[in-house]
Subunit: 255 residues, 2 copies
DNA sequence: CCCATCCGTTTCATATATCAGAACATTTGT
DNA sequence: ACAAATGTTCTGATATATGAAACGGATGGG
C-alpha cells in the first residue's frame, strides 16, 4: 500500500475495518465480499475476516447469504456524540468575542420542543438588567435565537407551530403567514431579528449553529434594549452574530 | 444481546479501536490515554497507538495535550445510513398528526436484532418526562412498537425469542405461550398494546409500517402514563396508530 | 523547593494479523 | 446441465500490532 510519509503510524486493521464500515454505511443496500474487496483494494480473505469481526461486534449484519450491510449501531454512537456535544466549550470563545464587540448580553441557546433553553450567557456590560438566566427558556417563535433555529429547519417545524404562536407583546408574530415571511427574511439575511416580539422594547439577534447536514443544534444570540441600538447598527450586529455562529459550526466539525 | 453461541475470530485491533471510539462518543468531554486504557482494560501503549490511528483517520481529535475526544465523523457516517432510509421523512407528518390527536409521546422505531431503535420522536405535550431518546433502544417483546413489528413477522422471529424474554416489570410476558397469545391478539386488532410490560405504569401502543410483501420495516408508537388513559380510550388510540401506520406503509410504495 | 506521582510518549522483543494463492462450496445465469 | 460468478476456508511466509518497561514532562503536596 502507498502510505503517506507524513502520517506514519496507522494500524491497518483498524483503518481497513473503518473503511469497510464507511462503505457499507454509504450504500443503500448491502455489498458483497468481492465487491468490497475490489473497491477498497483488499484481498477477499481479509475483507471477509473484517466483515466477520464487524458482524460479531454488531456493526454489520448479513442480509441474505450474499451481502452485508451496516446496522444502526454506527448511527447510535454518532447520535450519542451529538447529544453529548459540549457546545458551551466550543462556543465559549465566540461568546466572549461577541461580548467584547458589542458589550451587550450574549446567549447560547439550544432547541427544546417549541422553545429554546439558554445554556450559557455573558451579561451585558452596560448597566441594564437581563431577564434570561442560564437554564431559562423562551418561546421559539419570538426570540432571535429561536427564530434562527426555526429558519434552519423550517420545513420540519412549521406545522408544529400552527396554533401555537402565543402572543407576548403587540409585535409578536401570531399568524403563520407573518412568521413565514419573517423566516424567509431570516434565511436570506443569515441571522434572525426580533424587534420586541417577546419583551417590550428588547431587541434580539440570533444565528444558528448547524451540523453539516443543516440541522440546527444551537444558536448564538445578542439581546439589547431598543434604545441602545444606533441607527444602522442592526446590520453590523447581525453580521457579527452570523459569522460567530458560522465559526462555531465549523469548529464542531474540525475541533 | 445474547448472540454469542459461537466465538468467531475477531480482529482485536478493530475490536479495540471501535471500543475506544464508542467510549469517546459516550463521554461528554475528552478522555485521556490512561483513563481509557483502564476502562477498557488495555495497555497504555496500545490505547495510545489506537488513538493515534483514529486521529489520523479523522475519527478522533486531541483536545489539549492530555485528552482525546471523538469528532463528528462517526455521526456523519451514521447519518448516511438513516438518510438512505427516508422513513423519517415519510412518517414525519403522521407523527405530527398523532401528537396533535393525543398530546402524548410519539415514536418512530425500527427493528434491530431483538430490540427496536427509536429513530424519531415527538415529545409529549403534557408535563411528563419521557425516558426514550432518539437513538435509544428497547427490547422488542415488551413495548408497543416492538410487538407490532413482531406481529408482522412472527413466524420468522418467534424462535429467536425463546429463552430471551427478559423480565423488566411484573407484567412482562416472559413465557413464549403468553407472547403467542398476545401476538395473536395484536394481529387481529391491528395494533399492539403494552400494559406496563417494560416500564411500570407506562402504557404503549404500536403499529407496524410494512412493505408490500408484509415485512415490517418500522413501527409507530404512542407512549403514555397509565393514569392518562381514560376508560375506553385504548380502542381510540389503537385505531389512531394503526391507521397512521397504514398511511405510512402506503406512502412507502408511491414514494 | 524538592520529591513523589501522575500522565503521555517511545522503544523493542514477541505475539498476532495479513497476504497471496489456491481449493472448495454454493449460487446464478444461459 | 454447465459455466461463471460469489462466499468461505486453508496454508505458511511475511508484515504488523502488542505488552512491559522505561523516558521525560507536568502537577501538586509537604
Amino acid at each position: 500500500m502507498a502510505d503517506q510519509s507524513k502520517s506514519p503510524k496507522v494500524d491497518s486493521t483498524l483503518s481497513k475495518g473503518l473503511a469497510i464500515l464507511e462503505r457499507l454505511a454509504a450504500s443503500r443496500s448491502g455489498k458483497g465480499v468481492t465487491e468490497l474487496s475490489r473497491e477498497l483494494d483488499l484481498t477477499k480473505s481479509n475483507t471477509f475476516r473484517l466483515l466477520q469481526t464487524l458482524t460479531t461486534l454488531g456493526y454489520v449484519r448479513r442480509l441474505d447469504n450474499r451481502s452485508y450491510a451496516a446496522t444502526l449501531k454506527t448511527w447510535q454512537i454518532g447520535r450519542n456524540l451529538v447529544e453529548h456535544l459540549d457546545l458551551r466549550e466550543m462556543a465559549g470563545p465566540e461568546l466572549t468575542y461577541l461580548s467584547k464587540q458589542t458589550g451587550e448580553a450574549i446567549y447560547l441557546a439550544v432547541p427544546e420542543d417549541l422553545a429554546i433553553v439558554y445554556i450559557d450567557k455573558i451579561d451585558s456590560r452596560k448597566p441594564i438588567r437581563s431577564w434570561n438566566t442560564v437554564g431559562g427558556s423562551a418561546p421559539i417563535h419570538c426570540v432571535g435565537t429561536g427564530k434562527a433555529i426555526l429558519a434552519a429547519n423550517y420545513s420540519r417545524m412549521r406545522d408544529k407551530l400552527v396554533g401555537n404562536l402565543t402572543r407576548h407583546t403587540d409585535r409578536t408574530l401570531t399568524n403563520i403567514e407573518a412568521l413565514d415571511a419573517d423566516i424567509a427574511a431570516t434565511q436570506s439575511r443569515g441571522y434572525a431579528l426580533d424587534r420586541g416580539e417577546y419583551r417590550e422594547h428588547i431587541l434580539s439577534f440570533g444565528a444558528a449553529v448547524t451540523l453539516p447536514d443543516g440541522v440546527a443544534v444551537a444558536a448564538l444570540g445578542i439581546s439589547l434594549p431598543e434604545i441602545n441600538l444606533a441607527e444602522g447598527d442592526a446590520g453590523r450586529i447581525g453580521a457579527l452574530v452570523r459569522e460567530a455562529a458560522a465559526r462555531v459550526s465549523e469548529k464542531l466539525l474540525r475541533g
